[in-house]
């Protein structure tokens, strides 16, 4: 992973981030996620941080079968002063282990992000789940209301487990919150506006309205 691990942090990357920090007064915030967050399944016995298998019919640039182990979260121990957002898996890639992955990775993430939790994320570009070029993961009938219901189920689980395991965890405004809905843009199958009107922020735990360009 780009930041390295406990024994081999990537100093080159840290130097480049610090150059920017020296000019703009604050270190860049790193959002860890993207399509690959929705493929990552957790295996507690995996020694490697991440094992990825490429399928060129889906993407030549990133693996679309991914297993992560506990040492994946060591990356969040590197680069002092940098704050991270960790993205959890909502898309699932038709893998029955996806909810178990959520339950097992929440404690690992909140512990690794102690003192450096920028925000959290659940699902990447869910508006493309019914039509993704990397494989459809929701039916064509998937609606904004369906997304909101799933998003609430997962994020309420995240908040509950963090309250139990990492009671001192904070991101913004003294609370643990999220960036959402992280849709692909403004012109796609699901509308961010309809998701918002369907009550996406009804728990008032979205700290950043995130859209992709």
């Amino acid at each position: 992973m780009i930041s390295g691990n406990n024994s081999h942090p990537n100093n080159f990357s840290y130097n480049l981030l610090n150059n920017i920090a020296d000019l703009q007064g604050t270190k860049p915030y790193i959002r860890v996620g993207g399509n690959t967050q929705d493929y990552a399944v957790f295996n507690s016995s995996l020694k490697a941080a991440l094992v990825g298998t490429f399928d060129s019919s889906r993407s030549a640039d990133y693996p679309t079968t991914i297993v992560i182990g506990p040492s994946f979260f060591e990356s969040y121990n590197t680069w002092p002063g940098i704050q991270f957002s960790h993205g959890f898996n909502l898309g699932g890639n038709h893998d029955y282990r996806v909810f178990d992955t959520l339950l097992q990775t929440i404690p690992l993430a909140c512990k690794a992000l102690q003192g450096r939790m920028y925000t959290l994320e659940y699902g990447n570009e869910a508006d493309a789940y019914p039509t993704s070029a990397q494989g459809q993961v929701r039916p064509l009938s998937y609606t904004e209301a369906n997304y909101v219901e799933e998003w609430h189920e997962g994020t309420q689980t995240i908040r509950k487990i963090i309250r139990d395991v990492c009671p001192d965890a904070r991101s913004r405004n003294g609370a643990v919150g999220f960036m959402a809905p992280s849709f692909t843009g403004v012109n796609n199958r699901l509308s961010a506006r309809k998701a918002w009107e369907a009550g996406l922020n009804s728990f008032r735990d979205i700290h950043y309205f995130s859209s992709h360009l």
Partner: protein, 254 residues
């Protein structure tokens, strides 16, 4: 991906503004009451395109995109990166596909950071200055406590230097008004320089290189690059020449 070119797609201020404005319209319609951010963004889809996303022209696009977004109130931009991605700002490790190193887009990120200045201050505002030109130039102002301190000028007219018989490089002179109230006689320039919009190496910011081979990404001042340029303000104007495919920060700070 027919019809996608550096000049028409990326080095095109009107196109970039339209893309950002579509998000501003969504934000206005929703009114979420929280900061609006781009959680993932970069020049072209499918992780960028070689010959476009990895060039100096894309670095200039990134400045235009970031500063226009700042001027309309976008709170933060996460520029998308990944190992071997074409639009990456740097490649952190050597792979069979890509060399380890600092890539052209990084220099656009540096120029933006230099223009934004210390973000811990809450009294800095970025303004967009509309220009009458070819649609391939852009300008922004940075105000501290409502006083103009810096102007960014981006000349996004493409220039290809790596062809067999390159044409002479054009330049444009930007006549920037400097209010007499600011009481400034001269301005200093910081230039983002490369051989052309098709350059993928050899870029400097105010004479600094951030290349991996020099000091593992730490800044190194190169000896053969002009720095410390000053221009006089005359009759309330300063005339700033900018090569095609170049960006300049004009500093009004005393």
């Amino acid at each position: 991906m027919s019809g996608v070119t550096l000049q028409d797609t990326l080095m095109n201020h009107n196109v970039t503004m339209r893309h950002v404005e579509a998000h501003v319209a969504e934000w206005s319609a929703i009114g979420p009451g929280i900061p609006y951010i781009f959680g993932e963004a970069n020049s072209l889809y499918n992780q960028g395109r070689p010959g476009l996303s990895n060039t100096f022209g894309a670095a200039l696009w990134a400045i235009d995109f970031c500063l226009y977004s700042a001027s309309v109130g976008i709170g933060r931009i996460h520029l998308h990166m990944g190992t071997n991605y074409r639009y990456q700002s740097w490649q952190p490790i050597a792979t069979e596909h890509t060399t380890i190193g600092t890539k052209a887009p990084y220099y656009g990120n540096i120029a933006v950071a230099a223009f934004l200045g210390d973000q811990r201050a809450t009294n800095i505002q970025i303004a967009h200055f509309p220009l009458k030109g070819t649609g391939h130039e852009a300008a922004y102002g940075s105000y501290t406590s409502r006083e103009l301190r810096k102007i960014m000028v981006i000349n996004m007219n493409a220039y290809n230097y790596s062809v067999a018989d390159p044409s002479p490089r054009g330049y444009r002179v930007f006549a920037l008004p400097v209010s007499a109230e600011l009481n400034i006689r001269a301005v200093t320039l910081h230039r983002l320089v490369a051989n052309g919009s098709d350059a993928i190496t050899g870029i400097t910011w105010d004479g600094w290189s951030y290349n991996y081979e020099l000091a593992e990404g730490k800044p190194v001042r190169l000896p053969n690059v002009t720095i410390g340029e000053k221009l006089q303000v005359q009759n309330g104007l300063v005339n700033v020449p900018v090569w095609d495919s170049e960006a300049v920060i004009v500093n009004l700070e005393k």
